[in-house]
């Protein structure tokens, strides 16, 4: 008898400990992990909320509607494909994407505070979702989409000071108004219209990396503004390989400024070799290449090679944005915004405000500075030099009279026949400083294809 009692008590103790463990796990699930899957596109709680609640509208920064719910409960997107990767889509079957996904809770009338209150929050909530005011400028967005004209590519336009995303375009795009019917076909198309190239496309940057290399070279004092480089048209990097100029050009003797303006590969290859693996890695780290943007937009991680394992030739290739380097258009827009913003990188964002149906501002964006990537003086220097690119160099096509425009073209070699066409830069408008990054896949030279798009973007603000 005594033995059985002892055994029973032992087993009971073990079982109660198991129960306690389980209790702790449930608390973890419901308390700490509670928010973890709330944004998961597979969670049909997201889209089904719209059954009982009229989903809120989405506005651009000029107060134009870019998404709303019709009387018959359907979601309507006036800008269609042009705004596809900003608005995203919301459907019970295929789920949600874009802002519709990320701000689903707000649009459905739920806020974190209400969720925490549980059933009481349910009582406080109306049957009308909250409205969203985004940072995008529908004129600029439309101009960018039209300028790409169906070609594969992406455009990102930022407010250089605040980080507000003024345009986020990827082409070809899906039409959110018809996405349910076309879902199957869209998934099969070879030009991937569901891929957001602006934040998830990875491309070799080519020469648009050069402003950053200028900063790294001056920062680490491997050269100065007065050193005279000699370009004989080709840089021998050992092992029988060499870096050549575009169109087999020869630049002769030139300073660093001219090397940037004329995009001299020989000079930048040499600078990268002088910098070496350690300084390059530190530099790419400082520019945030190892920390993709998360949150409102979900940037793909850039592909940065392990610098220490690269040979001399590959290091030289990094200096001209080739080798194994792959970056996203939004990352390059951030770099040009940092230059325009006197060297400070600001976090890009999409949501300006959420407003309750009664007009109360529920949440408002707070500007967040990510880091200082270069000194104010260096930024000033690069601004002047990049302006020279537009005034007299490869970026002439972006010139707009009366506005200070600066930029850098890129013509990135890739594993297809035709190069990717790049243009990054900024423009100082009357009201704000805008920074942009333009990519046209297999568009050829940056000067001919991407730079003219920048001009159209700038003009869209002047209307």
């Amino acid at each position: 008898m005594y033995n059985i009692k002892r055994n029973i008590l032992r087993i009971t103790a073990v079982f109660l400990v198991l129960f306690a463990l389980f209790l702790a796990y449930v608390i973890y699930l419901q308390l700490i992990q509670s928010d973890y899957h709330a944004h998961n596109p597979l969670n049909s709680r997201n889209s089904v909320l719209s059954d009982t609640i009229a989903r809120g509208a989405i506005y651009d920064n000029r107060g134009r509607i870019i998404a709303k719910t019709d009387e018959d409960g359907l979601r309507y997107y006036p800008f269609g494909e042009a705004m596809a990767f900003v608005t995203g889509y919301a459907d019970k079957k295929i789920g949600t994407g874009g802002a519709e996904n990320y701000f689903n809770r707000e649009l459905s009338g739920k806020t974190k505070d209400l969720t925490m209150m549980g059933p009481i929050g349910e009582l406080l909530r109306g049957n009308q979702g909250n409205d969203l005011i985004l940072t995008v400028d529908s004129d600029c967005q439309q101009a960018a989409f039209d300028a790409l004209d169906g070609r594969r590519g992406a455009v990102v336009v930022l407010d250089a000071t605040t980080g507000a995303i003024l345009a986020l375009v990827s082409s070809p795009a899906y039409n959110p108004n018809r996405i349910v019917e076309e879902w199957g076909a869209l998934n099969e198309r070879e030009d991937h219209p569901l891929l957001n190239r602006a934040v998830n496309g990875l491309y070799p940057p080519g020469s648009i990396i050069k402003p950053m290399i200028v900063d790294l070279a001056l920062e680490n004092a491997v050269t100065d503004e007065h050193e005279l480089f000699t370009c004989g048209g080709s840089l021998d990097v050992g092992g029988g390989f060499s870096i050549k100029e575009a169109h087999d050009g020869v630049h002769g003797n030139l300073h660093l400024k001219d090397a940037l303006v004329e995009s001299c590969n020989v000079t930048f290859g040499a600078l990268a070799i002088r910098l070496g693996a350690d300084n390059l890695e530190k530099g790419f780290k400082r520019y945030g290449f190892y920390e993709p943007i998360r949150g409102e937009i979900f940037e793909s991680a850039s592909h940065i090679p392990e610098f220490k394992t690269l040979d001399r030739g590959d290091i030289a290739q990094i200096g001209i944005g080739q080798s194994m380097l792959l970056v996203t258009p939004v990352r390059m827009a951030l770099i040009s915004a940092s230059i325009a913003n006197d060297g400070v990188m600001t976090e890009p964002y999409l949501m300006e405000k959420t407003i309750s149906p009664k007009g109360i501002i529920l949440t408002e964006h707070k500007k967040k500075e990510l880091s200082r990537v270069m000194t104010k003086e260096r930024a000033g220097l690069l601004k002047d030099w990049m302006e020279e690119v537009v005034l007299s160099g490869t970026g002439k096509a972006a010139k707009v009279s009366g506005i200070r425009v600066a930029g850098k073209t890129g013509t990135a070699e890739n594993n297809s026949d035709k190069e990717h066409s790049w243009f990054i830069g900024f423009a100082e408008l009357e009201k704000r400083k805008i920074a942009f990054s333009i990519l046209v896949e297999n568009g050829g030279s940056g000067a001919d294809t991407a730079a003219p798009i920048a001009r159209k973007l700038i003009l869209s603000f002047e209307k």
């Binding site: 109660l16 209790l23 509670s34 969670n43 549980g118």
Partner: protein
């Protein structure tokens, strides 16, 4: 008397919530009769049995009512059947409690019990119908019965009787097999038979959950009776090897295990249920989405195995923690009652019943929360289903019947 009052508050409070949510009042007479039956039983228990028993019965009624509410909310058509099963369960409870002498006598016929138990398990294998991937049902007229639910009761009886009878022999260290102390094989045979039966059930009927319960109850009760850790180690080895073999040999076991490790590999296919369950539980947060305000209907089979997820979503952490605590207290009361039993076999019987409740609760709650791989068993008193409801009340009846009347006025 205090507990009687509590149970009434519980029972009354809950149907009023369901009154608000559902316009159709057809179920009212059913609820009324259920309440009357519950009240009468409660009074009788309080007068004739110990306070603990009264308390346990209130708990069971509370859980059943909560289950009925959750089911009414999930699938309205199932409300009345479930209330009916609740009443039938309570009737079975009375019958079992009244046949106290018979139960005590039953404990002397361990082999009859064992054979009955195996026969009951074999029934569905011979006459069985496959429902929901498990071949563990038999159809009697318009009723479908899961004999394994009732076999659980017999199993506890058999083990209690057998183990108390042969406790001394089983504990004798006559033979050393490798480094285990094991008694002669003929004394072990019935135990091995039970393990074998559970394994067979699992292989043939694909009823993983019931097999696991049978096996675990047998192991734990054997340990309780003998205190010989060899059984435990032996069972563990047996369990691990059979788990590995079945992982390799049976596809459904492999899938169950794989989706537990990584549900995101196939979120819309094999892992659909568990992912929806996790979404639901996480949606619950602290205070829950509010009754009828969540979306537990997204989970397939929410009214049977996944009823815990449904409660966790709509009542939040508050609800799920209360449930866990209530089940833990139910188990704890069983243990306390068993400790004051006079005879060994009765002590084992009550404790075995407690283990049965505990393991079922733990296995299904842990399964739906991805605490460990999911195996389908019912949540005692709450899950939809007559066999489960009636057998749980019968098991509870056994505990109450065999328990000693004590501490009435304490």
């Amino acid at each position: 008397m205090l507990f009687c009052g509590f149970s009434l508050i519980f029972i009354h409070k809950n149907p009023t919530i369901s009154n608000v949510s559902y316009a159709d009042f057809k179920y009212l007479p059913w609820i009324a009769s259920a309440l009357i039956v519950a009240f009468i039983i409660e009074v009788v228990i309080v007068k004739t049995k110990s306070r603990r028993c009264a308390w346990m019965f209130s708990c069971a009624c509370f859980l059943s009512c909560l289950g009925i509410l959750a089911i009414a909310r999930l699938d309205y058509a199932l409300t009345i059947p479930q209330i009916r099963w609740f009443i039938v369960g309570m009737a079975a409870f009375i019958v079992v409690v009244r046949s106290e002498k018979f139960l005590r006598r039953l404990l002397n016929y361990e082999y009859v019990l064992g054979i009955l138990c195996v026969v009951l398990l074999m029934l569905p294998l011979i006459f069985g119908v496959e429902i929901g991937g498990n071949k563990n049902w038999i159809v009697l007229g318009s009723f479908r019965i899961q004999p394994s639910e009732f076999a659980k009761i017999l199993l506890v009886f058999f083990l209690a009787a057998y183990l108390s009878e042969h406790r001394k022999t089983l504990d004798l260290r006559k033979k050393r097999l490798l480094f285990f102390n094991l008694p002669p094989i003929r004394f072990l045979a019935p135990l091995i038979a039970i393990w074998g039966a559970s394994l067979l059930m699992f292989v043939v009927a694909k009823d993983l959950g019931a097999a696991l319960i049978f096996f675990a109850v047998a192991v734990v009760m054997t340990y309780a009776a003998t205190g010989n850790k060899s059984y435990f180690i032996f069972a563990l080895i047996f369990f691990v090897t059979s788990a590995i073999i079945s992982y390799c040999a049976f596809n459904h076991v492999k899938i169950r295990f794989d989706i537990w490790l990584n549900p995101w590999s196939d979120p819309r296919g094999a892992a659909y249920q568990i992912i929806e369950s996790l979404f639901a539980i996480e949606n619950g947060n602290v205070w829950g989405a509010g009754f009828t305000k969540g979306y537990p209907t997204f989970i397939p089979e929410a009214h049977t195995d996944f009823i815990f997820s449904a409660i966790a979503e709509e009542f939040g952490l508050a609800g799920s923690v209360s449930l866990i605590v209530i089940y833990a207290l139910l188990f704890y009361q069983c243990v306390l009652i068993s400790l004051i039993a006079v005879k060994e076999e009765e002590m084992l019987l009550i404790f075995g019943a407690g283990i049965m409740f505990f393991l079922q609760t733990f296995i299904i709650m842990g399964g739906v929360t991805k605490f460990f791989p999911l195996t389908g068993v019912t949540l005692p008193f709450m899950s939809y289903g007559g066999s489960s409801m009636v057998s749980c009340f019968m098991l509870l009846g056994v505990i109450v019947a065999v328990s000693r009347k004590e501490n009435v006025n304490v």
